[in-house]
Symmetry: C2
Amino acid sequence: MKITEEKELTGVKEIARRAEVSIATVDRVLHNRQGVSIKTKNKILSIIAELDYQPNILARTLASKKILKFAVLIPEASNETAFWEAPLTGILKAEEEIKRYGIQIDKYFFDQNDTSSFVAKTEQLLHDHVDGILMAPMFTEESIAFTNDCKRLNIPYVFINSDLPDQQSLCYFGPDLYQSGYMGAHLLRYLVPNQAKNKILLVNISKEINQRHHLLQKEKGFKSYFEDHNRKNEIIKIDVRQTDYASVEREMDQIFAQHQDISAIFVSNSRVSSVARYIEQHNKTEILLIGFDFLPQNIEYLKNDVIDFLICQKPQEQGYKGIMALYNKMVHGQSSQQVNFMPIDIISRENYLFYHN
Amino acid sequence: MKITEEKELTGVKEIARRAEVSIATVDRVLHNRQGVSIKTKNKILSIIAELDYQPNILARTLASKKILKFAVLIPEASNETAFWEAPLTGILKAEEEIKRYGIQIDKYFFDQNDTSSFVAKTEQLLHDHVDGILMAPMFTEESIAFTNDCKRLNIPYVFINSDLPDQQSLCYFGPDLYQSGYMGAHLLRYLVPNQAKNKILLVNISKEINQRHHLLQKEKGFKSYFEDHNRKNEIIKIDVRQTDYASVEREMDQIFAQHQDISAIFVSNSRVSSVARYIEQHNKTEILLIGFDFLPQNIEYLKNDVIDFLICQKPQEQGYKGIMALYNKMVHGQSSQQVNFMPIDIISRENYLFYHN
DNA sequence: TATATTTTCGTGTACGTACCCGAATTTACT
DNA sequence: AGTAAATTCGGGTACGTACACGAAAATATA
């Protein structure tokens, strides 16, 4: 029965009435399915455009039994770095919100010290059929290879925590590394007198090669600030290639043997707690200490006035917003900004209790 | 026809089958409507409990044509204080997200300098029938009277920006005023030597009586920090009761005539830009300046190094989360925490570009 | 021209819930 | 007991969309 009454209808029914076809035909056009002549298809399309038709998501997801599968590909939260717990928490929060709208989220965790585990997970992920991907592209080359596959299979993907520009990701949620180093230096400007004798120690602690470029970008930002503002402080830098405390202690001992007048220490990542432990044990807590990330150990030292400031970049929000970006794109067709830098938050002893990681 | 097949059904159908009644009867029980005998009602209720039945929100909002009306009762964003633009932005964002689920949000703006305009709006609000309220309870007594009406009418309400404890609000999203003053003092600890001669000026600028208690709480937090940590700095305090620049200038002139050695100024609200203008015009920019809120004028002075730090408390998020709390409560039956303090964010020249207000 | 094939399209049912309307049952009242 | 009234309940349709199935129309093939 063709719908011909004049009563104002809504949605597909109204389109069907105006085009003098059945609802099913309108549906075919909406979903780009075949079986519609070009003539009627164009007619329907023009009516859709004219009405600025917005499908009712409620009815759609209710009627459509199929569920969208999103995949999450991030490092597992080891006890070595609890960092990745936060993005996962954000992801779970998003999942809780949208699972009732037919979204399923499968998690694939890899070992961030092991490239091959990453590759293995990408293969498994492609084998299971998924409709969208949220990933941390830690290993550059492997990630590029993987996203090329995704492009071929027409699977959209979102990056978090670190970006691969020019890889056509749907979007990126994460820090501007350079600027966060710059911010750290800015804090020190207030805290350390502008004299050469007030030395500043820059510490990179990292075992994984893949993380090096992160640290390098922060280091670059940090140093640039001192140049841009003609700061006179001498900057000493050390790279610690082992993350155990003994290694850190050894290196620090060496530095302090050479330099007596270090006013501040800037640790370029979340390993700042190791340095905190050192300066606490060696009664050097008068030295200013700045580091990264809202991790339990770090907060402990923050409470005890050993760490003075932590710079944080909302890891949880990275996961949450990444998933929601996928959801908004695939379900509502809304695309968001391509690059989304997280705020650069400054945490101290007096506001950490209020921080939302 | 009673549903008797053994095939596993979902939702109300399954309940109806097990209880050997019709769907309509189950529906009556679910909505606490009358017309069901106590016996069958109990039977159905026990089955609902047993199955841990969760209604399908999609189907519910689709089938139910009625739309929920939320009311927002906040100050209008005057050019005197652009502050309230931010909560409104958050509210609009939430509206955009949930309007497709049958939520309508009506806005009622009052003049924060005029109690009677507040009362007028509350009356209008109660006249229009609304299902939930998000409000800024700026005028204590009037707000209490209003929320008593709401309680009587069984309309849930959420507070933002300032709290009225013991008023049985669904929840509160806003700052911990005392702690934000404490935080401001903590920042100064790093920036000003611990000596009596390094004086610190505390400035309250406010015309509205209703805002006074805000400032007082911050002031209390600020001073407490100095006491708690045995800081020796002399603290000078002034209250400026007019918000125009001429008044501020007059008061500041007077203070600087009396004191030559002021190291830092703490302005307890967003009017910090007036003080910034003063110390810029009087070539006193070497004085540290700390204030509140991410407003355009303040950011300008932050860029120019006149203001050193701004403390911000996510006003936009207050509006967003407030609305979502109402929504989650009324649609999904999920209640959130009662008191939700916003983070205490520290904004400086090097991170303001990344701040999400 | 008759039949086979392809293209094009409509009917009908389903998703899970809300709610109108009227029927069946029970209770109250003369 | 007989009727009226109240109580309790079920049938059926609707919300807006998806999709299986089959019918009709157009085209191709013999």
